[in-house]
Structure formats: C-alpha cells, structure tokens
C-alpha cells in the first residue's frame, strides 16, 4: 500500500479520521431535531467520508459506493422522502401529513419520526450525489 498523500502522517491520519467523520455524521443526523444540523449536513459528512476513504484505500475501500450504484442510491434516497409522503397519502392524509402515519404514538412523536425518516432520505441522497459528482469529476468510471 503506497502513501497516497505523500507522507505517512497524512495517510495514517486520514485513515484514522474516517470512522470519526462517519460517527459525527450520524450524530448530526439524529441530533438535527434538537440542535443545528440535519440531513443535508449529515449527508455532506458521509459523502466526505466515502470520498476520503476512496482516496486513502483506493479500490479496496470498504465504503466503495461508486458510479452507477451511487446514482441509483441517490434516487432511492430521494424516493424514501417521497414515499413517506405517499404513505401518508395512503393512510388518508394529505401529502407529507406526518400526523397520519400509522404509528401508535403521540401526534408530535409521529411528526418527529416522520421528520427523521425524511432526513434519512435526504442524507442518503446528498451522500450519493457527492460521490456521483466526485466520480464524474475525477473520471474513474468504466475504464
């Protein structure tokens, strides 16, 4: 394994930092209800983690979400958001009316869960889009 950033210090530190970035992303995603944060920021963090891991590990990266799959994943992420709305439609509410989600908890609780679900969708979409753009810009596809 060669040193992709020139020196061993940078290489190792990036390797070490990746799990922490992901952890921070999870925190930002889940804590977005109570403090500044949310899906977009978490998605950006996850995206950076994936890109960084790819830079450090190359093809052997564990998080090798790449190319076409990332594009499909971005669509699925946004579709999760849309499908929350469709579920509320099916249960007799208006589009994105979280109060009608079929869950046995209080009204604000249902809203909060709905918000979490859509934030998850947003996170997936942002993460994969960053990977798609990165892939496209560095042009390492299908060669």
């Amino acid at each position: 394994m060669n040193n992709r950033f020139g020196t061993i210090v940078l290489d190792i530190s990036f390797r070490v930092i990746i799990p922490f970035i992901m952890l921070y992303g999870v925190y930002v995603l889940i804590h977005g209800e109570d403090s500044p944060g949310g899906g977009f920021q978490a998605g950006a963090l996850f995206g950076i983690a994936v890109v960084l891991s790819r830079l450090v590990h190359g093809e052997q990266a564990i998080l090798n979400v790449s190319g076409d799959k990332a594009l499909i994943l971005a669509g699925i992420g946004t579709a999760i958001y849309g499908s929350v709305g469709v579920v509320t439609l099916l249960f007799g509410g208006n589009f994105l009316e979280y109060g009608t989600l079929p869950l046995n908890i209080s009204e604000p609780g249902r809203h909060a869960l709905g918000i979490l679900a859509i934030e998850l969708g947003v996170t997936i979409c942002v993460m994969s889009t960053i990977v798609v753009i990165f892939d496209a810009l560095v042009g390492r596809e299908e060669e």
Partner: protein
C-alpha cells in the same frame, strides 16, 4: 383518492423520475413504459383537476395539512388547470417521439435522460399549480437544472450554449428570488393569496420596496422567458440541443415563465394598481420591438431550428403584448396564444427533428423535395406554418384576432400595426421553407458533401416516412392546431373566460 389529485399530479412523475436509474438498471423497456404511464397519469390528473376547477371553483390543496400562510398550498384555478393540461399533454407526446433517438444508448444514459425529462415536466407542472412564491422558485430551479442538462447533451456547441444559459438563467432566478425577498420583507408572507391581500394597501401607497419587487420579478422572469432585449441565451440553446428534448423545452418552458408573470401581474399585484400600468406599458413597447426585430432576424437565418428559435422570441412578444394590452380581449389573446404557440412550436420542432432523423440536415437549403419523401410530416409542417402566419382556420389566426380586438378597445393602433406587419414577416420566412420543401427540385444528381455520417443515417432510416412512434405525436399536435383553431370559441367561452382574473372580469 380523488381529493388527492393535485398532489398526485406532481408526485407520480416525480417518484418515477427518482426511481428511474434503478428501473433502468433492470430493464430499459420497462423504464420507457413506466415513464409514459407516469406522464399519462399526470395528464389524467391534470384533466381531472381542470374539470373540478371549472365545475366547483378553485381548488386549494394543503401540503401536510398546514393552513396556507404557514404551510404550502396548491391552488388550481382554471388558468393553472389549463396550463397543467397543456404541459402534461405535450410532455407525453414528446416523450413518445423521443424513443427512436435514444434507441442506441446504454441503460445508464437512458435512465438519466428519462429522469431528467420527467423532472423537467415535474418542475414546470409544480411552477404552474403552486400557490407559494418560494415553492415556485424551488420548482423553477428543478426545471432549469434539468433543462440545462438536456440542452447540454446535444454536443459540444450545446455545452457552451448551456453554460451561457446557466449564467443568464441564474441571474434571472436570483433576481426573482431577490424580488420575493422584497415582498417577504414588506409583508412577511410567502403565500400568493395572502400576499395579494397584504400588498393592496402598499401598492396604493406607492411603496418603494414593492416597486423594486415588481421590477425585479419582471426582469427576472423576463430573462427566463426571453423577452426581447433579454433573449440572448435562447437562439443558441435552441439550435444546438438534441432534437429529442427541444420540442418540449421550446414549446412549454418559456410559456410557463410568462404564465408566472401573468399570475404575478394580474393575480398578486393586480394590474391596475400603483406602478403596474406603467411597467406593463414598458413591457408592451419592448414586446412590440421584439416582435419586429426577432422576425427580421428569423428571415436572416439559414438553419431551420435557428429560424424557429428567433420566431419563438417574436411569439413570446405576442403574449407579452397581450399582457400589456391588459383588457379582456388582450388577456384572452395572450392566454390563447400561450396554448396555440406551445402546440405550434412543439409541432414545428418535432418536424425539424423528424427531418433531421431522416436526412441528417437542418439547413433550409437542404429541404428540397423533402415533401415527396415525407408527405405526412411536411403536411403537418405546412399546417403549423400557416398557423404561425395566421391563416384563418388554424389556431394562430384567432389569438392574433383577439389581440387586435384588445388593442382596438384600448385604441393602441401601433400594436395593431405591429401585429399585422409581423404576420407578413412570418409569411416571408415560412414561405421560404415551404418553397424549398414543395416547389424546389433537388439540384441534379450531384449531392454535395456526402459525408460518411449522412450516408449512414440515410441507410439506417430508409423508408417512406418516419417510424410510427414519431409520426403519431406530430400528427396529434397537427390535429391540435386545427382543433384549437376550429374550437377556439368553445375554449374561450367555456374555459379561458373563467381563467381570467376575477373569473372573467
């Protein structure tokens, strides 16, 4: 489920577009079917909402069931219903037509192309039926981004044109957003109905901030719809784009922008308030100048698509002129011309794409004898051209007729002169093409510059006419031109009459 129609109108194509890379991964045949179904569903929903709006009055749909000034609502009155029907109809037809152009692509490209196309449709539909000014901006950006990508997919020159369009379009969108910011600063609201109510006292008091907001929104949307001095992005973008996407973009996109302007001027600001008459007067003069100059420019073009692009600028001028005239007939003329021109221009670009498919040529000079090779297509072209010129039984005549009636009512003689002169100019540049296609003989056997590509196309696309999937949309839109012309009275009295501000004044 019936009360959810306005949401379904948007959500069905939106979700289809989102999942289209996934679907494309498994089967491209399924992808095409799915998208056609989704857009057709959207069309059905649009018709349903229009009927509802006509029979039971304006339809308000709340997202998340939040009451309007706090949440986002969709408002479907006859005007937006008509626009939604128009957009979804043309979208279905052009998607049907686009099939053969994409036949040789890989799954990924097909998936992306269909997704972008459907997103463009979704964005335009969302802009048309939304009742919230910021939501309009979001959908404006969805449709713009999709349009940038579709335009750029036409080759390298198209890339440069698309980049220019990105810059200019973003200026337009930012101006619009700043205008919304001004409105928000003085009223604190983003809902259109709420804004209209809160703006009345401010407009009556000639508030400076509202004046700026009016100007910003006018200029922003003027850029987006290619009103005359701001049309710089349009000819290149239309000329170099791939023939599969341009009929939809040219036919509908600028019309939606002018619809937004119409909505702002007559439903939110109220046209007779404060500074609006003066601003509309300026718009009218610009439109008049644009009609004449763009028609002259169109005469000078040698490329069929470029000619159509300049003619688009001129036709946008007609609609803006109707808006500037601003009385009952003027507005009827403007709205009718939105419909007519969307159908006519889509139809003409479909024909242009068809000829390209057949011969690989876009230059007018190469159109000789083409009428013998593709009689049906060129027949529809003849119809479209007559309609653009404004020959009576076709659609184009009637909108011009209403515009002239409106100008007569307001005694704006110059506008009448402009309309008549521009009709003559239209006749000049369309007759050139008609002459080439029908009367001119192909010059001898010597076929100039027979490149490898053109031979390839000629071999592959042999046969008397276009494939059926391409021919059907052309014929349907051609029939639409006739239908809009013959039934214009029915449409005006039964639909458009109720679409105007105040339910027909």
């Amino acid at each position: 489920m019936k009360e959810q129609l306005p949401a379904l109108l948007i959500v069905v194509p939106l979700v289809t577009a989102l999942l289209s890379p996934l679907v494309a991964y498994f089967s491209t045949r399924l992808l095409r079917g799915l998208h056609l179904t989704a857009l057709a569903t959207s069309f059905a929903c649009a018709v349903g909402t229009l009927i509802h709006a006509l029979t039971e009055g304006t339809w308000h749909y709340r997202f998340g069931d939040w009451a309007p000034p706090w949440g986002i609502e969709y408002v479907i009155d006859p005007l937006s219903g008509v626009m939604a029907v128009l957009i979804s109809l043309i979208s279905v037809l052009v998607l049907l037509y686009a099939g053969p152009f994409l036949a040789e692509e890989g799954w990924l490209k097909k998936g992306i192309y269909y997704a972008l196309y459907t997103l463009l449709t979704t964005g335009l539909l969302g802009m048309v039926i939304t009742g919230d000014v910021f939501n309009l901006y979001v959908f404006l950006e969805i449709s713009s981004l999709a349009a940038y990508a579709l335009i750029a997919s036409g080759g390298y020159k198209a890339t440069v044109a698309a980049f220019r369009y990105v810059l200019i379009g973003t200026i337009g969108a930012s101006l619009y957003l700043l205008g919304v910011g001004y409105l928000y600063a003085v009223t604190g609201s983003l809902n259109m109905a709420d804004l209209a109510e809160k703006l009345q006292p401010l407009l009556a008091a000639n508030s400076q901030a509202v004046l700026i907001a009016v100007l910003l929104i006018m200029v922003g949307m003027g850029i987006k719809m290619a009103l005359f001095p701001l049309h710089g992005w349009l000819p290149d973008a239309y000329t170099y784009t791939s023939p599969a996407a341009i009929p939809f973009i040219s036919g509908v996109m600028t019309k939606v922008m002018i619809y937004v302007l119409l909505r702002y001027c007559f439903f939110i600001f109220g046209a007779m308030n404060g500074v609006l008459p003066a601003v509309l007067e300026i718009v009218g003069w610009l439109a008049a100048a644009g009609i004449i100059l763009a028609s002259v420019m169109a005469i000078a073009q040698t490329d069929f698509r470029r000619m159509l692009a300049y003619s688009s600028v001129a036709q946008i001028g007609y609609i803006a002129l109707g808006m500037a005239i601003g009385n009952y007939y003027g507005l009827i003329g403007a709205v009718l011309h939105i419909l007519n021109h969307a159908v006519m221009k889509s139809c003409l670009f479909l024909v242009a794409g068809g000829v390209k498919w057949k011969t690989g040529e876009h230059a007018i000079a190469k159109y000789a004898e083409i009428s013998r090779r593709m009689p049906v297509t060129m027949g529809v072209f003849l119809l479209g051209a007559l309609s653009m010129i404004g020959i009576p039984p076709t659609a184009g005549f009637f909108s011009k007729w209403y515009l002239i009636l409106g100008a007569l009512d307001n005694q704006q003689w110059l506008y009448i002169v402009v309309i008549i002169v521009s009709s003559l100019l239209n006749a000049v540049y369309f007759f050139r093409v008609i002459e080439q296609a029908y009367l001119r003989k192909a010059e001898g056997e010597a076929k100039p510059e027979e490149t490898l590509a053109s031979v390839e196309i000629a071999i592959k696309n042999r046969g008397p006419e276009l494939p059926y999937v391409m021919l059907v949309p052309i014929v349907v839109l051609g029939a639409g031109i006739l239908l809009l012309g013959v039934c214009n009275n029915v449409i005006v009295t039964n639909i458009l009459h109720y679409a105007l501000p105040g339910g027909g004044l």
